[in-house]
Symmetry: C2
Subunit: 396 residues, 2 copies
């Protein structure tokens, strides 16, 4: 069995979730739009599921929840739909430099549509600066979109304070909660988000389904037009097995998140402690204000790509760069924004834990990584001669 340390890229569906979904593929296949018994049962289950998603984030009502096909679509609906909805009020949007690629690309798209997009910089740990944020707001600002945390370096953002600033200036606050959903509880009545992106797979639900929370009174323009499902904000026949699975995943996560977060934090801290024993290794992201399941490292003189491949040979599955685009050879935009040099960013390794991670997975990487790093450094043209001599000796 391989050690899987890439939960940020993909999570297996929880078997309890799969069991809950099963009947909705074959036996209970009704369309909520139908007037007969199958349709009635589907409508009932759809609204029960919406209620469970609302409870997961402590939303006042199931009416606050719109189902989408995933987090990327929710981000599009929130930001593009929100921008178009408010274009008479203003044309200025604020995001951070370290948002998920979907949000960065939505920013570029909106600029081509005539909107102005400010990109807030971050400190060395990846935290935004609240004073800078407030100074960026002007009378044309309609939306701030800053994720609850980075899915890459795990750094938590000061979301309560961002929400406060947004409220003070009467600007909508959207947040992509994907990076924190599986290990940090969300309470939309405590933090007054206007819009919040949720993913099903991030909480061990099926892929191809997500949701957008909208605060009471907040409406966005649809980006998928049709039969008027989801209060006209997202058309298309409802993906019932997906919705039922997502709801079950939310129910389980709500019940277990605190225990799970504590367990993951312990594993993560063991991981960090073990890996930082490697000479010239560093933790990326914030040392304390980070998600319980995330550890991101860099190692002088070597590349993340070679690390990933060498670990593959040791049956350890990891990621480099950002979780969703390891295939590009660009260094992580997040690490560059944190002030790392290109070669430092290229030497980074992203380790993410999840519900089915065990202590033996952590032990495995702690055991094999020092020798993997040493070997790569021996081969690297970047390793300084003196250091090379020292690590060459260690081989004997």
């Amino acid at each position: 069995m391989n050690a899987y340390l890439d939960y940020q890229a993909a999570k297996p569906v929880d078997p309890r979730v799969f069991d809950a979904m099963k009947p909705y593929f074959i036996e209970e296949f009704g369309n909520p739009s139908s007037l007969h018994l199958y349709g009635y049962n589907a409508t009932k289950k759809l609204e029960e599921s919406r209620q469970k998603i609302a409870e997961f984030i402590n939303a006042p009502s199931p009416d606050n929840i719109i189902f989408t096909a995933g987090a990327t679509e929710s981000n599009n609906l929130a930001i593009i739909g929100g921008a178009l909805r408010n274009k008479r009020k203003g044309n200025h949007i604020i995001i951070s430099e370290i948002e998920h690629i979907s949000i960065l690309n939505i920013g570029k798209y909106l600029e081509r549509q005539g909107f102005k997009v400010s990109r807030l910089s971050v400190d060395q740990y990846g935290r935004i600066n609240l004073n800078k944020l407030e100074r960026l707001i002007n009378d044309k600002t309609i939306l701030i979109s800053i994720s609850t945390a980075s899915n890459e370096i795990g750094t938590l953002q000061p979301i309560e304070e961002i929400a406060e600033i947004a409220q003070k200036h009467k600007v909508w606050f959207h947040s992509d909660a994907v990076a924190t959903q599986s290990s940090v509880p969300i309470d939309v009545q405590k933090v007054p988000f206007d819009l919040l992106t949720l993913s099903s797979n991030e909480i061990y639900g099926p892929r191809g389904i997500g949701a957008l929370y909208l605060k009471k009174g907040v409406r966005v323009n649809p980006i998928i037009i049709g039969g008027g499902q989801e209060k006209g904000m997202r058309s298309g026949s409802e993906n019932m097995p997906g919705i039922v699975g997502f709801a079950k995943a939310a129910e389980i996560m709500k019940a277990e998140i605190n225990t799970e977060a504590a367990r993951l934090k312990k594993l993560r801290d063991k991981l960090i402690e073990g890996i930082l024993k490697i000479p010239k290794s560093y933790l990326n992201g914030h040392p304390e204000e980070r998600t319980p399941h995330n550890a991101n490292f860099r190692f002088d003189y070597i590349e993340g790509e070679s690390l990933l491949l060498a670990l593959k040979d040791e049956n350890v599955e990891v990621a480099t760069g950002s979780a969703c685009s390891s295939k590009t050879l660009e260094p992580s935009h997040t690490l560059i924004s944190c002030g790392l040099l290109h070669e430092e960013a290229h030497g980074s390794l992203l380790l993410t834990l999840g519900r089915f991670s065990e202590e033996k997975d952590v032990d495995k990487i702690i055991e094999v990584l020092p020798e993997v790093v040493r070997k790569l450094r021996v081969l690297s043209p970047l390793t300084p001669p003196k250091f090379l001599e020292q690590i060459k000796k260690e081989v004997n």
Copy 2:
């Protein structure tokens, strides 16, 4: 067991499809964007699946296929994405009056964006007129969108001739193939569509997944922006279980469509023959040029809504009006376009058959419907006195 005659609204997943999908929820959960083994396996399966969808419609290459979250999204991507892509060439689009509600609403949306949309009328059987179509084309026309058939009255459109006209005038031809996918083979090399919408659930695959076929050289603007998946035309992590299920459904349908169509046609003809024995009953749509699984009737003096409810009491599940919006009380726009009066359209009943329909389902409705119709007519204020006397007698 209820007799289910509403396959157009929702289809159960074929158990063979479900078996094929199963491993991709829990064991094989990789993200195709990841560089490790799970990611590699996912990429391989993604491309194999794309190949199967291509084979289903005889597309020359898997590169012609883009996965979406369903037919509504595919229609949006094709028509909105296609219109925006070509806006420098022209701003005129042609659809028919009897398109699916998603296409009708996309038409209204594009009009608000400054496009001109012509809505081609249909004859009493729901067929478009090719001369009228050609006369509507002008030098600003960029796209024609006409479905392969009506999902409501089953009438097949002359798609080969439409494609020929579109080619002659160098206008893109998009078609929503949802109404014919399950019973009429599609060959995109024989009928040169530029864009074709496919749904997974329509061929007994899972919900929440669909595809758009694009002829070589045809590209559309994305409507969901992000990580650049699906050649930049549709971002978001791939819904692997959905994609695998859709591909399996396509493989089965390709192998069985001819046998299945013949079987359905036989059942449908029995249905039509049996039901037209009811006095003052009529078939909606074309008598011959119709999909093998569709039968749509109207009955003088009564309403489809009451029919639906009365049949529910007899454990027969049917639809009234259009399959996707039975909940609205509007009469079917398709039947009105065919020249029916409002009261005639209101009296219509949509019966659709599918892979798991059996002769006993057909027998059941043929058995119960005459008495259901008679009883409703006895109660109806619209029934003329003379006819009322006649049917009252039949009760004894």
